[in-house]
């Protein structure tokens, strides 16, 4: 099994965290089956003072690669909002190692870091990239590493390089090797067709998970990144399903009268929080995979919905209109202590927590009546608006906490957009067709 998509040997322990997504190789095998247009990126607003970096073209001497690695790396870094990459037509030279870098030339061009790489073919269909990061001001090499994979994993190789460079410069773990799940709705022959899709975090390699003429909503990842849980109306009622990414094996988890919604996988993977209205009105329940038992957690005549876990698994945040309007509450499991979390404005809903457990993002109704994405620091209670469109929804936080993806209405369509958690960088991922809804950012894929 030489072709198995192993990552080769890296000279760093960090190779452990790259687990080549099983899907990667298959996506290319089956492109005909998922020939729909991929998402593409359009940066609308960059950071005020991004780091200037040059990613030198990575080419195979005397050969051709199945894709442009440095273009993917540059797009990753640009999309973070923290970097601005140099256009390759402005580069005076294409060094392949730090020894070949003429630092003065890059310094004059205002470049702070240079990424160079030597690409080899260790075997047919295999790519090995030895890449280095150089700091121009210090005229020094920051690191040299290598990564190896199959031709089908070219994008994984590129995202690994992006992650490594990003972390070396910012100190923040890169999240370019992660994925997103989302739902699209398109009108096809007068019928609305819903699709549950998974793609790379940059929108590439979109893969179909489920197609239905009935609504699909609320996808969420399992903590190991191998499964999705979501709501499908295919039985003519909402029901919660779980589905493995690798082989599409799926299982219907709920089949109650009334609402079966808003599933959220617990951090330990053992249970789901969800909303059921089987006992009269929407309440939060806990479902245990082991015992298959449902435990009711809330008891109020108001709407309780949209539960999300704190990273330690000890509490849930959820939306409730028990105070007369939707606000976010925190329920500590065990003690059942309930506290109201949000107080700014008359509509705060759909809480999502960053992995630090401290940054809460939500949908907030602004003074002008529009719905925007807002964040609140749960320690200082500092509240800030991250977006300013008229109808933004469904925020999801990258596993490194640096970016928030959400949906935004553009004219008659909804598109995916991303904003840095400091609100300084923003971009959209316009889809070619239909509405895009409810992105869910995967955890780090090991």
């Amino acid at each position: 099994m030489k072709e198995n998509p192993s990552i080769g040997q890296l000279n760093t322990q960090r190779c452990r965290r790259i687990w080549w997504c099983m899907a990667a190789a298959f996506a290319l095998l089956c492109t005909a089956l998922s020939a729909r247009a991929e998402l593409s990126i359009e940066i609308t607003h960059g950071a005020d003072n991004p780091t200037r970096i040059a990613v030198v073209p990575m080419t195979l001497p005397g050969g051709q690669l199945p894709g442009d690695i440095s273009a993917i790396v540059s797009a990753d870094l640009d999309r973070s909002g923290l970097f601005r990459t140099m256009a390759r037509e402005n580069m005076l030279a294409f060094p392949r190692s730090t020894a070949e870098i003429r630092y003065h030339d890059w310094s004059v061009a205002g470049i702070e870091y240079v990424v160079v790489a030597d690409v080899q073919r260790p075997a047919a269909g295999r790519i090995k990239v030895t890449f280095s990061l150089a700091q121009v001001a210090g005229q020094r090499q920051v690191f040299t590493k290598f990564i190896e994979g199959s031709d089908n994993e070219l994008r994984d190789i590129a995202h690994y390089i992006s992650d490594t460079v990003f972390e070396a410069i910012t100190g923040i773990r890169g999240a370019f090797s992660t994925r997103i799940a989302y739902v699209t709705a398109t009108a096809e022959g007068g019928v609305r067709v819903y699709r549950l899709l998974v793609s790379d975090a940059d929108g590439a390699r979109e893969r179909l998970m489920l197609k239905s003429k009935q609504p699909i909503l609320s996808p969420r990842w399992s903590p190991d990144g191998r499964e999705l849980v979501y709501v499908s109306f295919e039985t003519r009622r909402p029901a919660v399903f779980r589905q493995r990414l690798s082989d599409a094996q799926r299982e219907q988890v709920t089949n109650f009268r009334g609402l079966n919604g808003a599933p959220a996988w617990s951090p330990d993977g053992r249970s789901l929080a969800m909303v059921l209205s089987k006992d009269g009105n929407p309440e939060i329940y806990l479902y245990s995979f082991a015992s298959k038992a449902f435990t009711r957690l809330t008891n109020h005549f108001a709407i309780d919905t949209e539960p999300t876990w704190t990273p330690d698994g000890k509490a849930l945040l959820f939306t409730s209109d028990r105070g007369g309007a939707p606000q976010i509450y925190k329920l500590t499991l065990g003690s059942n202590q309930l506290t109201r979390v949000t107080f700014n404005g008359s509509y705060n809903a759909r809480p999502q927590l960053a992995a630090d457990g401290r940054t809460l993002v939500m949908v907030h109704r602004g003074g002008s009546g529009g719905f925007v994405i807002a964040s609140q620091d749960l320690v200082t209670n500092d509240f800030r608006l991250l977006t300013q469109s008229a109808l933004d929804e469904s925020p999801t936080v990258a596993p490194n906490g640096a970016m928030v993806m959400y949906t935004s209405r553009q004219g008659r369509r909804t598109v995916l957009a991303v904003v840095s958690v400091d609100a300084r960088a923003r971009f959209v991922l316009p889809s070619q067709s239909g509405d895009v809804r409810e992105p869910a950012w995967s955890p780090f894929l090991k």
């Binding site: 687990w19 179909l208 489920l210 003429k213 990414l245 009268r257 909303v275 709407i303 929804e393």
Partner: protein, 170 residues
């Protein structure tokens, strides 16, 4: 994580996808599950088949020309006065000739999706409660909320939103 287990996982996935890719037809069902990389079935990958959402057959409720769509104000689940006479007509029909009905609750696109699911159910419940109050057997009525997922009008302004905040009696 051992390389061997990784290899095994891959091999299993590879076989599954090959089978999927070799299947030349996709069943014409409303819901087709797919593995990463393909939309195929044919190797037993989860495939669900469901109806088209309409209730047909001899047992269907005949509205007899009465209005079957009832509209609501933003973020409200209170019946409008103009909905009452038609609903009283339905109640009379259902008392005289009991049939199973569905009340499908909907919202406009503003607000979060799952909150709107709950709001749509609240609207459906408001219609149900009115019918029950007027003598309809509650066991005949199923409320299903679609939240903002099935708008009647695709526009993004109040004229469309007003059409989308509704309960449909079927």
């Amino acid at each position: 994580m051992t390389m061997k287990s990784l290899t095994n996982l891959f091999f299993a996935g590879f076989v599954a996808i090959l089978l999927a890719a070799c299947s030349s037809t996709t069943p014409d069902s409303d819901a087709v599950g797919a593995g990463v990389g393909g939309s195929g079935s044919g190797n037993g990958v989860a495939t669900g088949t469901v109806g088209d959402g309409s209730i047909g057959g001899a047992d269907a409720y005949d509205a007899g020309g009465l209005e079957t769509v009832f509209y609501f104000d933003f973020d409200k689940a209170t019946l409008r006065p103009e909905s009452r006479s038609a609903l009283q007509g339905h109640a009379a029909n259902l008392r005289g000739n009991p049939k199973h009905i569905r009340l499908e609750g909907h919202t406009d696109e503003r607000g979060t999706r799952e909150y709107n699911m709950a709001l749509g159910e609240r609207r459906g419940n408001a219609v149900r409660d009115f019918l029950v109050l007027n003598g309809v057997d509650t066991s005949l009525i199923e409320v299903v909320s679609y939240g903002e997922e099935s708008p009647a009008s695709a526009g993004g302004d109040e004229s469309s939103w007003a059409l989308n905040r509704r309960v449909e009696l079927k």
